[in-house]
Symmetry: C2
Subunit: 320 residues, 2 copies
């Protein structure tokens, strides 16, 4: 909600009435739908078709917030129609949904595009998470040795990490950073550091990122919010400068979903599959420290719940 | 969780390894499943069959907590088998699920029955809600004129209301109390004040309650947690003494689900259908006060989220 509310607020102030966006897992689409309603405008969501099909409940939730929701690729745009002609059941991707959203936005000055990750202003809005975490650690008179977050485009990770990174760069703090990714889209690990488009149809500005290529096919995973070809420019720069380590987990998602189950049994609530990657990485790091007899204070970032992803948990964990 | 944790804790201390219970909507079953896991024992849940069938995701959630979940009536008990012989697709009820649970508990000294509402110790554990609310109002330097909660057995309502009731009875506070019910089971409105069983098969002790009759058929609703024939003894006594007003909403649930939609759009999250009854009543009361030009501070109690009830919202609100 941190960047959804900010983007909706400024869009409404500029006289826009329709907030166009992409969504993968559907968490960002839900957040922007709610934010749009709060400022009296409407969200118009292009939702990766594979996920749209398997999460009917999240579609209803966005509609209850007042949003219009479309499966992407859609027949509403030239780029969508082109893909549907080639393959009527194209599963879509975040890059395709962004392309459709940008094209649809061009159709009217009432519309504005709101991106949910990658860009610098998104990281800025999300950084309230890290600012609050710094205050919380002050209250607890403690300090994290390691900060872990999941990374697709990088907004979740950037939100918690960047305020700490600032202090590390200024020499005020020692802290490590670990990005948890999926082997479906390990952009920080297997990507090339270069200028690339943020979208499939090459309508975005070029961004300097670790990228797998903006038209690369990535295997579908349940944590679709991570399935994006490039990490945001700030995250990529920090990776390039050696400030961020990265790890990627297999696309069968068993290891990460088991981590979510452990979290559920200890904390009581079900987290989103994306965040489960961060929890898996945090558990692995904690076990490694324990084995070495080291104490380590690990801060992990979790965003979004997984109550609308239970069918994914059932399938992956083979619950009868 | 307030009474789930307390009941699980004491059961484990007494050497029990299986916590047997009933559940209607599934919220209580989920809470006890989590609490059981936290103290290292197992929950064994008899779940009203109609709801078991329409909420497969909540079943998976209870299983992820470590629980064993059965549709009720079940073939595991004499009372269940008797009902299934008569009607193999008997939709069940909370009263039937309690009967099966009590019978199943009798089968082993390892087992103990944990009831989720009605009884005095449940109200006691839940009263932490009202105690905290009193502290919060002190911090806000305010005081509620009206407290609203939904009532099936009465634990949710009792939890928030009883600490305030104590102060009202002691002459320390003025405050009204309103119970929001479903016309499916308006026990405080159409019930008779008398001794009755808490369960269908007459295995419970007799309780002095407002009751519709322990074998009365009540029309199925989505807010199944409210569909119970009798309000708990303390709530019933306060109704009898004139301290609690009650209102009941139609079984099509349109009015209450619309209230949940209003709440979603303003507060961002989806509440359980049971709690939607309290929100409807609070909105209606607020509108009435507004029309009269009166200021009224209304405190309403919400328990449980509705993210696993979206199919119900979709159906009732006719969302395409």
């Amino acid at each position: 909600m941190n960047t959804a509310l900010a983007q909706a607020y400024y869009a409404q102030k500029e006289g826009k009435t329709v907030l166009v966006t992409e969504t993968g897992a559907g968490q960002w689409g839900s957040a922007l739908s709610y934010a749009a309603g709060m400022v009296g405008v409407t969200a118009f969501v292009f939702w990766v078709r594979a996920v749209y099909n398997w999460k009917p409940d999240r579609k209803v939730l966005m509609q209850m917030y007042g949003a219009k929701v479309n499966a992407s690729p859609s027949p509403l745009t030239t780029s969508g129609r082109k893909l549907l002609e080639r393959n009527p059941s194209d599963p879509g991707s975040l890059g395709i949904a962004v392309s459709e959203g940008l094209e649809y936005t061009d159709g009217s000055s009432e519309r504005v595009y709101c991106l949910g990750s990658v860009l610098n202003h998104v990281m800025l809005h999300q950084s309230v998470i890290g600012l609050e975490a710094i205050r919380q650690f002050e209250l607890a008179d403690d300090s994290p040795d390691l900060i872990v977050g999941s990374v697709g485009g990088g907004s979740n990770f950037g939100g918690i990490a960047l305020p700490f990174v600032g202090e590390v760069l200024a020499g005020k703090r020692h802290c490590e950073f670990l990005a948890a990714q999926s082997e479906s889209s390990p952009n920080l690990i297997k990507g090339e550091y270069k200028y690339d488009f943020a979208d499939h149809a090459e309508q975005s500005p070029l961004l300097m990122t670790y990228t797998l290529g903006h038209q690369t096919m990535m295997p579908p995973i349940r944590a679709d919010g991570l399935r994006y070809h490039a990490a945001g420019p700030i995250i990529s720069a920090l990776r390039h400068s050696g400030h961020i380590r990265a790890v990627a987990y297999p696309i069968d998602e068993v290891a990460v979903f088991e981590a979510a189950e452990i979290f559920l049994q200890s904390e009581g609530w079900l987290i989103a599959p994306e965040s489960a990657h961060a929890v898996r990485a945090a558990i692995d790091e904690a076990k490694r420290s324990e084995a070495k007899g080291e104490e380590k204070c690990i801060l992990m970032n979790i965003s979004g719940h997984g109550f609308l992803d239970i069918d994914a948990y059932r399938t992956v964990l083979r619950i009868e």
